[in-house]
Subunit: 114 residues, 2 copies
């Protein structure tokens, strides 16, 4: 469990972000994180194997969309909302609005407890 690389602001690429958001599960994850709260991975319920979920979270992290923090054996993830807003002003909101309206990523849910 090594600390993963997070791209700097100017390393965040538009096509990488778009690519990361082209998968319903990843969109669902972003939606869950949209309130700005940090979430433990245990809170994330998605209909995939844990290795696959790990993969998706890695794609989001590598694209610069989320930031991952480790605490003991647990990992926490948070949306890099300010960074994204700085890098691509006005991009995130319409995507979230559209996803919300369409129900894209509704298969990803929040577990009962924290």
């Amino acid at each position: 469990m090594k600390q993963a690389h997070h791209p700097e602001l100017d390393e965040i690429s538009l096509t990488a972000v778009m690519g990361a958001l082209s998968d319903p599960i990843r969109v669902g994850l972003v939606r869950l994180l949209a309130d700005g709260r940090e979430r433990g991975w245990g809170e994330l319920r998605a209909p995939v194997a844990k290795s696959t979920l790990s993969h998706h979270l890695r794609v989001l992290r590598d694209a610069g969309i989320t930031r991952t923090r480790q605490e003991g054996t647990r990992c926490f993830v948070v949306l890099r909302r300010d960074d994204l807003e700085t890098r691509f002003p006005g991009l995130l909101a319409p995507v979230l609005a559209a996803a919300d309206c369409d129900g894209v990523g509704r298969q990803v849910e929040l577990a009962a407890s924290a």
Copy 2:
């Protein structure tokens, strides 16, 4: 050369649009079309084989981003700006702005003449 299918407004999917915009060449094409003018395919200069260009234009069309019209042996393409704005309000502008700022898709150019 049969007339291709164009998705209806409510058939346009967010993830398909995001996926279509995750390739620099396609972003470049969208940038060229951003002025709303219809372009003949002969005007589009991209550093790929024509079959590949045909593929990219097909992806954009299937995603509902562009509309293709045929006239004789020539094809014309136009951005479905209003449709996109209706379906995903506010989505296109930030993407174009970010692409413009970053130079994503600058490899796609307009040929000299029409």
